[in-house]
Structure formats: C-alpha cells, structure tokens
C-alpha cells in the first residue's frame, strides 16, 4: 500500500490486514515504552488545509510513536491566502524530502491529485478531503466495532464485520465519514443503513450498497443496529443561506437526534459511535453521549493505533527507486 486515498481502495483482505496491524499497534501503546523505532529517519508531513486539531494530533502522535520526524504544515491562512497553489505547496514539501504526506483539504479529490501528480513521490494519506473520504476514520470506527462486537474468544486477527448491522444517521450528503464508512463497512461484510432527511442524502445514494430510511424511529425498529453512528451536523447547514437542509435544530433533534429514549431502545449489546466533535443537544444528547453504550473515547484511542498501522503499511516495503 503506497497511498491510502479512499476506503474504497481497500479490498476485504487488505482492510482486515490494516485492522490486524492496528491491533498490534494498540498492544504496543499499552506499554510503558510506547515509542517504536520503525520509521526512524523518515519524515511525515501533516499538510492540513483545513483546521482539525483532533485529526492532526492523532496522526502526529501515530507518526511520533513510530519514531518518524513530523512536520506540521497548515497552509490555511498563510501561503494559500497569498495565492500559493496546491502544486507549489507540494513541490515545497518534496524539496524537504517528505516520505509521506497526510493531507486534509476542503476540496474533494485533492489528495488524489497529489498522489497522481508528478509533484511528489511521497506516500499520500487522506485525512479528509472535502465531502469525499476520510478513510482512517472509517478504519478506526471499524476497529472499534470489531473489538466490541467481534471479540468472542481469542485473537481478533483475521476477523471482519460480517453479520453486523451498522446504522449511520445524519448529514450523509456532506459527510466524508459516511462515504468512507459505507465503503469500508460493506467491504468488511457489514450491512449498512443510512438514516437522514432526504435533503441530506445525495442524489445517487440509491446506488450505494446501503439501505435508507428517512425516519429514525422506524429504522431503529426495522433494522436494529449493532453499531449506531451519529454524524456531526454543522449548524450552518440549517440556515437558508447555507442551503436550508432542515428547518430548525429543534426539528432535527426531534427527528434524528439520539436521546436517552432512543438509546434505551437499542439492543443490549449495541454501541454508539460519533466521529466528533459532538454537537451535544443537536445530534446527540449528553445522556446518550456519556452513556454506557458510547465508545466515543475509545474511538479516539483507536485512531492513533489505526494511523500507526496505516503509516507503517504505507511507509515500509520496498521503495521505488528515485528518478
């Protein structure tokens, strides 16, 4: 694996292999000495055109635990506002001999452009591009789900999500988390159900390998989930200027929010995920977010392990000779 641009790039066995590697990484993180020498001498650049302290810190921690040098570069508000192009930014990083570039960008496909260009020969890992993909988020969600619902006896290695039902609720239209999740969870054998008002489902969603509901209560009754993922709703989406995708936050919460009543109706083993940051009181109430089913904090921890695994898999192996 040279690049990780999309969860759809991973086939079943590759996806399981990433999760297995992530479990191994997680095991090292329970030790007193957490740092491994694996990527010593290699450089990872976190190229974040969009603010995301959480994701950046997660990648930075992962890279440092593997002994890579980390350079954080957030062109937002600096070079970009001076008109520097994506190309020039990447050429600059190439001159700094980056071995891997972790890219977060508001434009869908920007990481694919970098990976497919002659601007750099570094590994490119998507850390969220526009409304396209956020593959490491899907992987950490899958890791969390697998741990909780596929543990059984013995080692998790080799197991997928077959037979599990994953429900994703909220702004699917604008969500790279949802797109990555649908790709990865179905690759791993899970059944995926999407729940959203029709305004927040993309045209073309009918071709996705996922069931759809407009009514959360009906969905919970008819397709009871083993894992329930609540997507973040951006408040600006509700105003008419931003598109008027729903009438008011109150109506959204009534129709699609996870509250104590809905959480209580879940199956006893079911877990609740949220990619964060949460809008408490909008898509999820504090009771549900802090309740016993919530695995939100574990998701964050698993994020480091998944990103260690992805960096390991992308940055080791035979290097193509430099031209």
């Amino acid at each position: 694996m040279k690049h990780l641009l999309s969860a759809a790039d991973l086939d079943h066995d590759e996806a399981v292999a990433v999760l297995d590697a992530a479990e191994r990484m997680a095991a090292t993180q329970a030790r007193e000495i957490k740092k491994l020498p694996t990527l010593r001498g290699q450089t990872v650049v976190n190229l974040f055109f969009e603010d995301s302290t959480r994701t950046r810190i997660s990648f930075e921690t992962a890279a440092k635990r593997l002994s890579a040098d980390v350079i954080n570069f957030s062109p937002k508000g600096s070079s970009v506002s001076k008109g520097e192009s994506l190309k020039d930014t990447v050429l600059t990083l190439g001159a700094m001999r980056a071995d891997a570039i972790v890219v977060r960008h508001p434009a869908s496909g920007a990481p694919s452009r970098i990976a497919g260009s002659t601007w750099t020969d570094a590994s490119v890992i998507t850390a969220g591009d526009g409304t396209h993909q956020h593959p490491t988020q899907a992987l950490l969600d899958a890791m969390t789900i697998r741990r909780h619902l596929k543990a059984g006896a013995g080692d998790l290695a080799g197991r997928d999500l077959a037979g599990l039902s994953v429900m994703i609720v909220g702004d699917v239209l604008h969500s790279r988390v949802a797109r990555s999740g649908v790709d990865l969870f179905t690759t791993l054998g899970a059944e995926v159900t999407l729940v959203a008002p029709a305004t927040l489902l993309p045209v073309g969603v009918e071709t996705w390998p996922a069931a759809r509901f407009y009514d959360l209560d009906r969905a919970l009754a008819e397709a009871p989930p083993d894992a329930l993922m609540m997507l973040r709703v951006q408040r600006e989406r509700m105003s008419s200027a931003g598109g008027g995708f729903f009438p008011s936050p109150q109506e959204y919460t009534r129709e699609y929010g996870l509250d104590a009543r809905r959480a209580a109706a879940l199956a006893p083993h079911a877990i609740v995920l949220h990619p964060g940051p949460m809008n408490r009181g909008l898509e999820i109430t504090s009771e549900a977010a802090d309740g016993p089913r919530s695995v939100v904090v574990e998701q964050v921890a698993n994020g480091v392990a998944v990103r260690m695994a992805v960096l390991y898999l992308a940055m080791t192996g035979e290097k193509e000779p430099a031209v």
């Binding site: 192009s85 994506l86 869908s108 452009r113 497919g116 396209h132 790279r176 045209v203």
Partner: protein, 432 residues
Amino acid sequence: MNYLIKGATLPGGRRADIRIEDGAIVLIGRAGAAEGAKVVDADGLIALPGLVDVHTHLREPGREDAETVLSGSRAAAAGGYTCVHAMANTYPVADTAGVVEQVWRLGRDAGYVDVRPVGAVSVGLEGRHLAELAAMARSAAQVRVFSDDGMCVWDAVLMRRALEYVKGIDGVVAQHAQEPRLTEGAQMHEGVVSSQVGLAGWPAVAEESIIARDVLLAEHVGSRLHVCHVSTAGSVEIIRWAKARSIAVTAEVTPHHLLLTDELARTYDPVYKVNPPLRSADDVEAVRQALADGTIDVVGTDHAPHPREAKDCEWAAAAFGMTGLETALPIVHQLMVETGRMTWAHVAEAMSARPARIGRVASQGRPLAVGESANLTLFDPAANWKVVPELLQTASGNTPVAGRQMRGRTVATFYAGRPTVLDGRVLEGVAG
C-alpha cells in the same frame, strides 16, 4: 493563386475535381489540365464546406495567456473551420460596438477564418441591463448572435426583453442554460458518480428548467432562441417538443458531450471539468440520437482554452472548459459517420450550413457549388493520429482527448479561396 483539387469525394458521395479561381469555386466536375493552378491531390479525401463554429472562446482581449484571436484562428483552420463565433466573455466583455469591432478586426488581420464576434446580452454579463445590442449589430462586426455564455440569462424578464429586442436586428439569443441557485458551488453532473466522489452536483434539471422556460418565452414573443451545449436527455426532450410546436429554437451539442461521460470525474483530473458538466452515459446516447435525428441542429465546440495553471490544481479550484476546435470533426466522424448515424451531407449541414444560418453569416455554410465563395475543407477519414496537446495549434493544453487516437484529420482548408492549411500543416502569413 488558383487551385485545382483533384478527385475529392463530395458530401453527397460523388467524386469530382474542384477548381478555385479568384476566391470562388468555378468548376465542380471533371477538370482538364491544371492550366497554371496549383494541384491538390484529394484522392480519398472528403470535401466539406468550410466548418462554422457557433461557439468558440478566443479569449482575446484579456486572456491572451490562454488563447489569442490568431492562435485560436489557426486552431480553427487546422480543424477544418472557416468561420468561428467568438464568445463575449472576454476582458473587457464584448458588450459594446468597440470591443466586438476589435475582435472582428483581429480576426480579419489574422486571416485564417471569418471571426464573428458574439455580443453580450447584458452589460458585463451581469444579467441586469441589456447591452447595446443594436450598436453591436450595426458595427463593422455585424453581430447577430448574442450570449452571456458562461453566465445564464436567468432573469426571465431580461430574457424576454432580449428575445424581443433581437427581432429587430435579425439576431438570436444563445442561452447558456444553467439555473444559478440550483448550481451554486456545482462541480460536476449530479448523479451516481458525484455521490461517490463527493463533488457538488450540477443537476440536469438546472439546465432543463431554463430551456423549458426559454422555449416558452421564445414562442410567446415569436423570436429565435439558440440553446448552447445541450447536455442532458431531458433537454433533448424539451427541444423536441418545442420544435414540434414550431418554436424557432435551434440547439447545439459539443464534441465532448457526444464523447465523454461523468465517469471521468473519478480521476479528479480537472481537464474533465467543464460547464455544462460531462453527463451520464444515457445522456450521451440521447444527445447522439438527437444530433442524428436533427433535434439538435449543430455541433458547436465550446472551445474553451485555459492556461496550464488553471487546470494544474485540485478539481474545485480549476477552471471550467476544454479545447475542441482541432478534434471536433474527427470525433463526429468516429461517433456519427463511422457508425452510420450521419452521412457526410448531414455533417455538412450540422457543422457548416446550419451554424452559418443561425449566425446569419451569408458567405459561409454554402453548398460546394459553382459561383460560391471557396470555403471548404478536405478531410482524410483514413488518417489515424494521436492527440498530443503540445502539437496542437491552440495556445492551451486542456484537451480532454490528450493521448487518444483520432480517426480522420483535416488535410487542407480553404478560406475565401486561399489555403490556410495544406498537407495537414497550417500555413504562415495567410492574411492578405
């Protein structure tokens, strides 16, 4: 200089020699000795009337880094054209007699094709006030086609006024049909592919709703409407319906909408970013069928050159548009003629006669006949060539068919009796 074209195949299929003297065709049939004329061997070549493009962006004045009237004219000649309509979205906008005359003069000075400026419908393409359409019509440029191309004349009242007003100058409004609110931030066709690649969708209805409104307006005020770059099956249905009601509507399709689909957006290569966007395979089939059955009248290139930096970036930041003058005829040949969907006579209608009539260009789009001005092109349908952007005449490299194999190529083009292209090469210093 006089010319004798030997053994060309006419659009109707007959083989004939064509003698050109003093800019006009003086003989079609069996010529005897050359009698001092330069002989052009046209064995195996198709002779077509010089092609006329209703939709070209020459970028000058203002964006000479992308194209100039000269470089664009050379590209046109290389593609078999003898007349192009230069769109109004220049800097400054071609919304006054002064700007359209400048473009017209640049075209005349270049000397490769008849450059017919298109005038803006509204001042500054802003969609608020009518530009001085009559002044542009009465200028040396004799503008007959008015368009805010790139911007839709979305205000129904302004569109109504424009349609009414051009009746007095025998003009036509060429509409870029794009409902602006439905396409805010739009990046590509809205459908299966956009849902997966996460690019904001440009729904077909944003095109179709404007076309539906406009054909009704054209009917109501009894004026001529031309629909630019039709791209959806639904648009075709509306135009078919309008023509059945005898509404004076004509429609155009681009080579790229005949050839390419939105699947290409999966590459995120902005060379495939265009407005209107590449559509689904069903839409592509619909516009091919519509061109074949005459619902779509003409092929217009929407040749839209951009400098490299406008495409050497992420998709969302890239400019819309692709070049097309030099590959239009090979694409139509391959998709429509080789498949038996169109005859060469039909191609001559769709790429020469009808576009000239839409633009009211009297000297262009005429049949190959004795006494007509010698505007014609010789096309070798057997030639195979690979598109290498650097080898094209256009100053920009944003061809969507780079690296693709083209079937057929322009061997010679005659504009007003003088060759602009001979032996497949664009001639220098043709301005006379």
